[in-house]
Amino acid sequence: QKTFIGDQVLRITVNNEEQLALVSSLQEQEHLNIDFWLEPSKPLLPIDIQVPREHVQSVKALLEFNGVSYSTLIEDLQALMDEEEKEMVLSHHK
């Protein structure tokens, strides 16, 4: 089972085409292994990305440096999954 300890999901809001292009370019940087849950489309529509733990700080720094606003939707993806797992087990016992 793959774990997602420390993985975060960021919601990004871009204000213009330049910022949109910057965030879109993250898709091509394969080493970052970013999973786009909501892909870039146009300014003001949210973009949700799942960022592996080891790249969270660098991705956030890149966004901040370029004035791209974001919020952290999910602090720790694995914690959510552990909750889900618990619910599944409980449901099975029921």
């Binding site: 898709q27 949210p46 949700d48 799942q50 993806l77 619910e87």
Partner: protein
């Protein structure tokens, strides 16, 4: 959970549990529902469709598939509740009764069985199929980029490691080919609905072009009606419109293909999930999601029934 009456619809289930449920559901549906196998997956699992029919030969029909993207667990969970609701409302609710007395309904409860199974056993965030293709070590294709609708165009990736990889060729995925063959051979589908989950949207063609479909006005009006009805249940707000302007450009999607085949009422739902839970919507929201989706879907299905073409 040995029969559909004691089945816990408020929980997520594994593929084996769902397949077992299908048999007991069919057995308890007094002949209204039958199970068809429309193909096998890359890993050789059966692909099933539930057929709701009150008789007749090759009646006009409705197609709804759920969970083409493996990790979107709320979609199949909603489909189970929806199927059960249809059977329990038939003969009581006039919309459901009229619908099933005039049309057949086909539900593909788990559209990507290999991927779904993989999310339960290996990687909860898996989205694609599990196929292998020559020339790459990365597995899987995004089945919703693999249909014959501007295949390989903008809004899909040629990189096999990407989560939106369109695949080596059109219909390369057995899960996609099964749908395409079934719908094409049937020849009398009037509506094609693909149910996903993330970010509350109701969309219609096109995703691959900014050209408006010829039925744009009708589809816009119907979408508005549907999401208004849906919101009346629990207040969940949806956005609506063509895929391209509502969310993003995507090529090779199921509903674009269906629409280009002449199926006018082609829609794609993105069920409730604000992002706070990712694709891990808490189980205590399953029933609420199913309830509101049922109401939204029935608006569309009513319209389809009342507007034959």
């Amino acid at each position: 959970e040995r029969n559909s009456q004691t089945f816990n619809y408020a929980s997520y289930h594994t593929l084996d549990e769902i397949y077992t449920w299908m048999d007991s559901f069919v057995a308890s549906s007094s002949g209204l529902v039958s199970k068809l196998q429309i193909g096998t997956t890359f890993e050789n699992r059966p692909i099933y469709v539930l057929r709701f029919s009150t008789g007749g030969v090759n009646r006009p029909a409705i197609w709804i598939n759920f969970g083409i993207h493996a990790r979107e667990w709320i979609s199949p969970a909603t489909s189970l509740w929806f199927a059960n609701k249809l059977v329990s409302e038939y003969g009581k609710d006039s919309s459901v009764s009229s619908l099933l007395n005039t049309m057949d309904l086909y539900l593909e409860i788990v559209t990507n069985p290999d991927g779904y199974s993989f999310t339960h056993t290996n990687n909860r965030m898996w989205r694609k199929t599990r196929s292998n293709h020559a020339g790459t070590s990365c597995k899987g294709v995004d089945p919703n980029r693999n249909f014959d609708a501007n295949f390989g165009g903008p809004g899909a990736s040629g990189n096999a490691c990407s989560s939106t990889y369109y695949g080596p060729y059109v219909n390369s995925e057995k899960e996609v080919k099964a749908i395409v063959d079934f719908v094409t051979n049937h020849g009398n589908f009037k509506s094609f609905i693909d149910v996903h989950s993330y970010s509350q949207l109701l969309m219609f063609p096109y995703g691959y072009t900014s050209t408006k479909p010829k039925d744009y006005n009708e589809l816009m009006e119907l979408s508005k009606k549907s999401i208004t009805a849906l919101a009346s249940v629990h207040g969940t707000k949806y956005r609506y419109g063509p895929i391209l302007t509502t969310i993003y450009q995507s090529s090779g999607s199921s509903i674009d293909w269906a629409y280009d085949q002449g199926i006018k009422y082609a829609f794609c739902f993105e069920l409730r999930d604000t992002g706070r839970y990712g694709f891990i919507l808490p189980a205590n929201q399953i029933i609420a999601t199913a309830e509101e989706t049922y109401v939204g879907l029935m608006e569309i299905l009513d319209h389809v029934r009342l507007n034959p073409y």
